[in-house]
Amino acid sequence: MSKTPKATLAKEHTKIGLKPGDKIALINARLIDPASGRDEAGGLVIANGEISDLGPKLRRNAPDGHEVIDCGGHVLCPGLVDMWVHSGEPGFEHRETLATASHAAAAGGVTTIICSPETNPIIDDVALVDFVERRARDTAIVHVHPMAAATRGLKGEEMTEIGLLKEAGAVAFTNGASSIANARVMRRMLAYARDFDALSVHNTEESELANSGVMNEGEVSSRLGLPGISKSAEVITLERDIELVALTGARYHAAQLSCASAIDVLRRAKARDLPVTCGVSINHLSLNENDIGSYRTFLKMRPPLRSEEDRMAMVEGLAAGDIDVIVSSHNPKDADAKRRPFAEAEDGAIGLETLLPAALRLYHSGHLQLPALLRTLISNPADILGLPCGRLQAGAPADLIVLDLETPWVVNPEQLHSKSKNTPFDESQLQGRVLRTLVNGNTVYTLSDHD
């Protein structure tokens, strides 16, 4: 039933959107292709927006007639694919537009962003998927693919037109931050999605159990006097979803795990050969509930930041391959939404621009090898979504980044490209930064241009 061949999606987008860059050679680079494990000194040639050739022979010598970019020995790898991004458009343009989100993405080395349907209106109709694609084509400087709502209005009651939405270009179906509470609706949605080979991407939270919780349920929430969200709220619904995946055979991606016991659930599901994958947000790999300190609302998010043990379990799960994907969970919120008492502040943190440097901490600390880390940011999400990007190989789209692994820098929210500045990494010291980003062979960002 999959009427939308995997490869045509992005290619069509290329055709109507960003014009392909022509005849460019990137030399003197450390080529890293996380999918194949390639890691060697070399160069790469772009023609018509695609990679036409690469390898050690091109390290010093560019073919004639090409614009030459010297990578200075830095890493050259495919751009990142971020599976969980809120753009704010349509409906919340004062927080972020597709254009500003794409600039933040380009500066963070993200060349493909997957947008949540949680906008106003909610993306639950073919015309709205079309709107997002057209706006992205006209205003964004990186690839944008919408996810569509799995149920109308994200109410968890009636499934959306999954077949037509997929044909229109929706790459996955989700109920946003909330779960589909009704197991019967969830079952039918998954069964129907399976017929169309559609990917379901879900956050899991048992709403009655989470109730009015605003942070992780634990000692810290008790000390702060804030209502907590039990880890069980995440695990119960995740277990239910996995059981329904076993029943229906649908492809399922758990969007953002946050606790150790959730990883156990996924590990067991994978051991049963179920078609499941999972992700974690950079926030849950980098921060824990203690960072909330004295009610820092920039650290209020869903799922909530958990304990240090949970964070470590996330890192280990990533290293063990139990977790497939890291997302930014980019969720721009204006000052008015955050400058409130903790319980009343809105959830969410921006992250497109800090995703890669924050993830590199795991490499610098020795927790993950570089190719393994980059796989979770680049080729794994591309594969799960069925996109042709995320690979250094001839014929692949020339969505590339030049990455300085070593240079330290301090995050200054005012210098970030997002319209909203709610970063939990403000004043953080990070090591490693994107120097240049190319989309379809065109340079859409260089560090010196902007900073």
Partner: protein, 318 residues
């Protein structure tokens, strides 16, 4: 003209017709032969016969029906029976009477044949255990609708000359369809290859065990089909519960001329009615020269006469 097949050449060995399940291929073929003759008789100017003269037939419908009820009524009248229609939905149920009590009450009036439709699977069989006359299942819940399967088979046989070896595709809401269940059993018994096409949400669990090959896409399932049976999709199932919307259903599971090209050029188009034009079937396809939907209605009367006549054999033997 009278029905040609004599009681000597075919004897129906059951008191009731509760389902296709349990009938042998020979019994099915025998009924179809009788029905063929009835179809000819129905095309004569004088359609009246006296096979069931003096017999009483009660059509007991616990669920609204137009075509099945009128088809049974006409069949009974053409064979000379006294036919009474009872629509129970509006009276007894509201007064709290159970199916069995209703059956006992009617049984006391000494009918010879009860034609029963009920909204609950198994209800007709339950009722049949409590009465002393013959019972015909005119549809019980999502279980069986044997006369529909017989009339479909008759229509196919008259157009294709056979049933064995044909590829028959049943497309649509199989989950809630008694027509599909009876057809799958009958077509398997007579040697057809049966396929089902439906979204997973409209398939019964373990549907492949019913004796059909399962497809969730028209593109695959329609290839090389000899017969395409479209099923009705109830309105209340079209808006996000089982299927997202009418337009999505029609796009992926509705029969239009584009999808019809996948089937054999001479494929028959069938529908048990009533149709939702533009939902499960394109209006032009429903009216196509390959559509035998009206012939199905004609064969419905013939098949019902055949089964009533078969019962008449018992009545004479008592």
């Amino acid at each position: 003209m009278t029905i040609a097949a004599s009681p000597d050449s075919f004897f129906y060995p059951h008191r009731h017709l509760l389902g296709i399940e349990g009938l042998t291929p020979a019994e099915i073929t025998g009924l179809l032969d009788l029905a063929d003759d009835a179809a000819e008789a129905n095309r004569q100017v004088n359609k009246k016969q006296d096979t069931l003269r003096g017999r009483t037939q009660i059509n007991l419908f616990f669920e609204a029906s137009t075509r099945t009820q009128s088809s049974f009524e006409l069949a009974g009248k053409r064979l000379g029976a006294d036919v009474m229609n009872m629509s129970v939905g509006s009276s007894s149920i509201k007064k709290g009477e159970t199916v069995i009590d209703t059956a006992m009450t009617l049984n006391a009036m000494r009918p010879d044949i009860l034609v029963v439709r009920h909204y609950a699977a198994g209800a007709v069989e339950l009722l049949a255990q409590k009465v002393s006359c013959s019972v015909i299942n005119a549809g019980d819940g999502s279980h069986e609708h044997p006369t529909q399967a017989l009339l479909d088979a008759l229509t196919i046989r008259r157009n294709k000359g056979r049933i064995e070896g044909l590829t028959v595709v049943i497309c649509g809401d199989v989950l809630h369809s008694r027509v599909a269940r009876s057809n799958i059993i009958l077509l398997n018994a007579l040697g057809a290859q049966v396929r089902i096409i439906a979204p997973s949400t409209l398939l019964p669990p373990f549907a492949e065990r019913l004796g059909a090959k399962i497809f969730t896409s028209m593109d695959e399932g329609l290839k090389g089909a000899d017969i395409i049976m479209m099923l009705r999709l109830q309105l209340e199932r079209m808006s996000g519960t089982f299927v997202p919307s009418v337009r999505e259903y029609f796009r992926f599971f509705g029969l239009d001329h584009e999808k019809l090209k996948l089937a054999k050029p001479d494929a028959l188009i069938m529908h048990p009615g009533p149709m939702n034009r533009g939902v499960e079937i394109d209006s032009a396809v429903a009216d196509d020269h390959r559509s035998v939907i009206s012939e199905q209605v004609e064969m419905g009367v013939a098949v019902r006469m055949a089964i009533l006549q078969a019962f008449g054999q018992h009545l004479q033997n008592q």
